[in-house]
């Protein structure tokens, strides 16, 4: 209380300055929210059982009751994980701003630079709006194109939604393995791309920007990264959650409907024949089909869960999901403004190859 009072008395009007006392309600709110989240999450399984067998009075083992239990428990569970991860990543992002990443990567040339780029790429969203300014900013500050590509590949290949699903269904070891493979792949791809002399595939004005690198814009970094209070950081987390829910609810409805239809009407032998482990060709096919498609993660999850429950192989399903979420045509159209088609092809090729490899690895690992 005293703290807030003295702040008011000094009365220096500044947008960034906030009395400490105002932080607490939001902080408490966040804690309460997290506690509520945990409570609901833990109760979902018992609730689904109660809902299906006690309230609706369905018999255990029947087809319909399985489907209902599945959609009351599993789909909300992964969506809740998605919300939590989105929140945490949203808060993290206020620390790992593009400007900061640039500062961290500038001047790194060896393996360390690639590894760092791959790690930093994971929590960074790769959408058509953020990718281009980021790309240009990296090149402008003299970060090698290979390292920049490692970063760009790591974004769609290591996907936080896939991480949430894997953690939910198979535990942290498999989820960790997925993240590890994805990052290793981004590092190796970046190193290979660096050897292809990729600079020749930049649009002329971008190449000029890259070669005249290092003409200071660095002083602005401090301003942005220090200007945020904890309130704002937590608020960014909530905004990220709101955006993913409000902006994508139609995907969610469509996804659940389609997932339910798959669960109810598509026979198991059909799914396991085409999406099972025995069909070795289905991983690349899933990626080729998935790349031009785009859907939000929240819409893909119910479909993916239904298909998995019907006996589809994990690797194949993951590959399809990652290619649907990861790359979209509008993104590539935006990229075309700064790089030539050859480099776009190389980029898409490496992302696709990475997803295929992840798919095969998981088909081999999980029964």
């Amino acid at each position: 209380m005293d703290n807030a009072k003295s702040d008011n008395e000094n009365a220096i009007p500044s947008a960034e300055q906030r009395p400490r006392i105002r932080c607490c309600p939001l902080f408490v709110q966040t804690l309460l929210g997290l506690a509520l989240w945990a409570l609901v999450y833990v109760q979902l399984d018992p609730f689904a059982r109660w809902f299906t067998y006690s309230l609706l009075g369905l018999t255990e083992g029947a087809h319909l009751s399985g489907a209902i239990e599945f959609f009351v428990a599993d789909a909300p569970k992964v969506l809740m994980l998605l919300v939590l991860i989105t929140f945490i990543v949203g808060v993290l992002r206020t620390f790992i701003t593009p400007e900061r990443i640039r500062t961290m990567l500038a001047g790194r040339k060896g393996t360390y630079g690639y590894v760092l780029a791959a790690i930093l790429g994971v929590p960074t969203p790769f959408c058509s709006c953020s990718a281009i300014p980021l790309f240009l900013g990296f090149l402008q500050s003299g970060i090698p194109l290979g390292i920049t590509m490692s970063f760009l590949i790591s974004c769609p290949v290591v996907n936080e939604v896939a991480l949430a699903m894997l953690y939910d269904m198979y535990g942290w070891k498999i989820a960790g393995l997925y993240a590890g493979f994805g990052m290793a792949k981004a590092v190796v791809s970046g190193m290979i791309i660096a050897r292809l002399r990729p600079e020749r595939f930049l649009e002329p004005w971008v190449a000029e920007l890259h070669s005249s690198a290092g003409q200071g814009t660095g002083s602005q970094d401090l301003l942005i990264s220090t200007a945020m209070a904890w309130n704002d950081r937590i608020a960014s987390g909530s905004i990220a959650v709101k955006e993913i829910l409000a902006g994508t609810w139609h995907y969610l409805v469509g996804g659940i409907a389609l997932g339910a239809a798959i669960y109810g009407y598509i026979p198991v032998h059909f799914v396991s024949q085409y999406m099972g482990k025995e069909a070795w060709w289905n991983v690349p096919v899933a990626v080729i089909l998935g790349l031009p498609l785009y859907a939000s993660a929240v819409g893909v999850i119910p479909i993916v869960q239904a298909v998995l429950a019907k006996g589809a192989a994990l690797g194949t399903t993951l590959a399809f999901m990652m290619s649907v979420i990861g790359i979209s045509i509008p993104e590539l159209v935006m990229l075309r403004k700064v790089i030539k088609p050859q480099l776009i092809a190389i980029f898409v090729g490496f992302v696709a190859l990475g997803i295929v490899i992840v798919g095969y690895i998981f088909n081999a690992l999980i029964r």
Partner: protein, 80 residues
């Protein structure tokens, strides 16, 4: 005073709306310019959008600012 709003797509319209409203509330004489050109974006050192420059000084990047913050920045810029 010259205000430049750098947009690509996410939140661009919102950022422009906040700036317009803030200009009204702060009562400053400002020329608001919306920049969509990528080359100009890069030259300005903007790495995340929406970003706002007031008199060539970057005040925010990568998010839509709160109205009260924006008014504060404009008032400070007008005073300085």
């Amino acid at each position: 005073m010259i205000i430049k709003v750098f947009v690509t797509c996410c939140g661009g319209d919102k950022a422009v709306a906040v700036v317009d409203e803030a200009v009204k509330q702060a009562g400053v004489d400002a020329q608001v310019e919306v920049v969509k050109d990528l080359a100009e974006l890069a030259k300005a050192g903007v790495m995340s959008t929406p970003a706002i420059k007031v008199n060539d000084r970057l005040v925010v990047a990568g998010r839509v600012p709160k109205l009260q913050d924006m008014v504060g920045w404009l008032t400070t810029a007008a005073a300085g």
